[in-house]
Symmetry: D2
Subunit: 357 residues, 4 copies
């Protein structure tokens, strides 16, 4: 996949190459995923993104042709005046400073340019294709919210049934499958809005239905490929597979997943490895969690510098922003997981190059 | 870089391509790094690896030629009889099962084949080249141990001086810069040895001297590239940059690093972002931590299955193994960081293709 | 660069990634190149392509931002009825048969889909960016026609001055710098039109102003990279560098280019190597020639097969088609050369990642 | 595949990654191919290369493991004194000058370093693996000599039976399947030896047994991939597919290959396209020809320059060299074709990732 576009440019979109021919695919498949990312309620930013998907090329008679898929959304006119006024005072936690230095000020700094969170719309659109392809092969990807600020879902996290996770998460405005915690998370976000502040969050993603043998040893391990993709999502700063950082404090006798035969299939108990051994899937659910930092745009005044004078400066960001970007990152995490896994499945020849064989 | 070799094959080695011409480099530069990985004391496995580096090609008159560097170590004869006897009973926590399924049993299962931890010797050798190159450009990479089992270094982790970190870590048999904790870690490991068990660990890596502007937006972000490499290291299951998973519980007003001018340079305070904003380095120390799972080979009997009969089986692993593989992973983490950063520096044209310009 | 679109889809376009920030670039730069590919006169196909370039993203204040450039042209409504009627009878010399087999009939066969010559519009648009970038670094790329059918430009081909070549070629409707031969070529094409037949052609490309040291040894040699790109252009079937196939019949004493010092610069005499030694540019003009096969769409009835019944069938292609596709391939060859050389220059660090340093 | 080594370094070798597990492979399979490249008779250079293959890793119980294959040959001690004496006077037609400029003199100039023709031994070793894999899938690759100096095989070149071509070519010291011409070629070479001169040659490669549908559209076309590889072979300066440059002078009605049904299979008549339409194989023999320039090392004195003083200089190359490097390039062309086609077959999922399914 290739992403293109800039926050205040004309379009944002994606090219998906290598999708097998013969996959039934329509604009509505992509629109449905994109709508999940929409800032449609009181918890999200004031920017109205009524994004309508255009699927330009790559399908014929309702099925993919084997050629590149081109999916685009237009950018509505947005007010760039704040950015023009504050061009030389980088927003803390944003890419403004590093982009200015790297591109000597030539980058489109308005709304973050191609560093903008809006680029994740392209990720979601590409992921919609991947999810459709994987669903035909019995693979299901479900991301849900584990933590927002100080509200955290407790208990054994990896063992839940993904269908139920998805069902409950879909009822929560913050995609939290624990509906009691979901309410507390909403309250936490409302408090942050009142304070002009923002919150971070932790998202878990569970992939079921994977065959054994996907992923390659060492540099193309399932974990390498997924970690690469997740850390390409703006604001994601960490990833752990299976029991992740908890493994640091475990003994081998606890951490090792024992093999067992269950209904003729080889499974492990528990699933501390998160479904991957030696970089290769073992048939258990693939489980990982990512950390999303708090939205860097906050209403409070912040300390910054003036890039021309190299003197200290104070910055006050205007407009409404997502109080918790993690909420909108949930479908993005699913999407990037879908793209990675579809790729690995094709490389491992578990999905044919042309469907309907 | 390309790795090659198998645990019980003839050699393990690496090819490093793209190293600038004109870098002073000798076998001793590589041997020194490799020796840090050596299982030379009572805390490590019984396998005697007196690895002697051979630098075959790629240097001339003591400097790199611009051509591929070839570095190899031989494998001494090792006893494969245990592996031959237990070929169809996969070790829990190892790649035995997934490799068997992926390669239909054709893989060299002895000692894990090319999934073996011994492949990390190739990583260390490639990293030695990267470290030498980076040191000429004022970049220093230091990894140290933060946690082994239940012993954890406390306090503000990201703010330490790397030269002092390296100095103290070098005095510790477990590379822990807090020498009091180091002693407790050693005791923890000794207890694990007695119990026939193993321990996980957490390693922090600090990179100083990086210029602003290294790394590319989105899919080649500094974090993506490093996460990809780290999760290619056998037994690494998680990575976090800067304040990582702690960011999930923070507010934006805490998490955002304020910009300031310090001695004419723009710096941030604190460094929750771990030196990366928008995927691009911001001139602050690059800080990340990885989780290393406990050595899966333990002395206790474990539950497994027989791959032929698909029935439950018990497995007892013989021989001595590293009680805490994290200890030997410290130079591997440094090495892979060095390779990634050298690559990103060359792509960003911060290091020339030929030195001495 | 990434190409997208299909002949009878909604758009054709290209994404250019990795273009240095700070390059002055407007839609008119791209439109100008695209117009050179236009089938605007009596020698070309009846399809009216009044292509208007849209430069969607990647520039700001008239300069590139460092982000991906997105350039698109719309496809006007074209009549697909002939293709629908003849879906199962592949046109000789086209990709119809191979695409049908590869994609099991799911490919968009109308007008050749993404195999269409129309995809070369995307190549030309990407090349316009490359040419602009290279021209700032003193590099000039000129392609001109050497042969159409039985009319061939004679004499020493490699030694001509590129500025004069370009000037004369621009006066010829077939881009032939020998204006007398140009007239004969036009007459040859008119005869082919009358006969309902088509013609092949040979194009030479000369690149001047290249520094010494561009290209990498072995697998990324200048010749490898350019040959790869040229043979991706539909209808190109051969490439030769310098004296090319003539070298097969030469002696070493003739073929070797002697080195000499000329105005303090090291040059060679002659330039049988076409400006490349060991895969690396030597500062002499880079010279190569490509063979373009005759347009496979001809008016005469042709022998084909029915893909359903696997029986012989006769095919009659309707509509007007370019009698000599080579004529329109001239700017495509320049464009792809520009993209390759810009890439190699950036890799060799002869062009900075951000301009205006 | 990755090549490593330098002409006067310790070893030359190759790493082959991605070879399916389960392929029967022994050192003798690789040695046999390598021996075909041996300068074993009076027509070749005086350098004695009694190369013994070492297959270090990547097989187990006589079959490939799925891991990287490492194949190495040692370099015997060779006399470097001539090169040390003439370090600053580049040999015409060689990479000496471009490498000196690119690497600022740090490159190993002895024998051409990693630009040496000796690197093609690594190509042949990798190709031996590809040929073995392809032969199991009914694919046969045969290269033979079409021209040396002024002696050229005439007649219809593409239609010959590959088994007979291979049989006759194997009886010729110059791999020419026309045994009468073979004798004339040998005489031509002997004349060149007497004159202290060298000769170029043209090699044709025929691949039979390919299924329909191999290769990808546009940038990964079969022609692009093979042209890329062929132009990475030192001394190769041109490539043409099917009727190649002859297509420039043809009419569409001649050039188009008509489809027909033959024994229930769809074939074309003739095969001007060389087995590729739209970048994708059409089931006909894949046919291409490459131009190999005359060995640049000749006995006669040549004009060069002194790189220190930038003044003209005369150069006299000592020692014996291959009078016609094309002779030894025949197995190299086969080898690189085998590597490319094996790759394309795996990508097209026509060869499984693990054999014995």
């Amino acid at each position: 996949m290739t992403l293109f576009g800039e926050s205040h440019g004309k379009v944002v979109g994606t090219i998906v190459e290598g999708c097998p021919a013969g996959l039934p695919l329509g604009q509505e498949d992509i629109q449905r995923e994109l709508d999940r990312r929409k800032p449609g309620h009181q918890l999200a930013s004031g920017r109205r993104e009524t994004d309508r998907v255009s699927l330009f090329d790559g399908t014929f008679n309702g099925k993919t042709t084997g050629g590149p898929l081109v999916v685009v959304i237009g950018n509505e006119d947005v007010d760039s005046s704040w950015y023009l006024k504050n061009q030389y005072v980088p927003r803390p936690g944003h890419s403004d400073y590093t982009a200015f230095e790297k591109y000597h000020g030539f980058n489109d700094f308005r709304g973050g340019g191609f560093f903008s969170g809006r680029m994740t719309a392209g990720m979601v659109m590409a992921g919609a294709v991947g999810k459709k392809l994987l669903s035909l092969h019995g693979i299901r990807i479900t991301a849900h919210m584990l933590q927002i600020g100080c509200v955290e879902v407790e208990g054994k996290k990896n063992s839940q049934d993904p269908a139920r996770l998805a069902e409950f998460a879909s009822q929560s405005p913050v995609s939290c499958a624990d509906l009691e915690k979901s309410g507390l998370m909403v309250a936490e976000i409302e408090r942050a809005i009142s304070a002009g502040d923002s919150l971070g969050g932790k998202i878990e993603c569970v992939v079921t239905g994977l065959p054994v043998g996907v992923g390659e040893p060492l540099f193309d391990s399932t974990e390498s490929v997924i970690a690469h993709a997740m850390l390409s999502i703006p604001a994601v700063k960490a990833i752990e597979f299976g029991s992740g950082f908890s493994l640091c404090g475990m003994k081998g006798s606890e951490a090792n997943d024992a093999f067992q035969v269950e209904d003729g299939r080889i499974t492990t108990k528990p699933n501390n490895s998160g479904g991957v051994l030696g970089g290769i899937t073992n048939g258990m659910p693939l489980v990982f969690r990512v950390a999303v930092k708090p939205t860097p745009s906050i209403g409070m005044p912040q300390k910054s510098v003036d890039l021309r004078t190299r003197e200290d400066a104070e910055l006050r960001i205007e407009g409404r922003h997502d109080p918790c970007i993690a909420v909108r990152a949930v479908p993005v995490v699913e999407a990037m997981a879908a793209v990675c896994i579809a790729d690995l499945m094709i490389i491992a020849q578990k999905i044919p190059r042309t469907l309907g064989d």
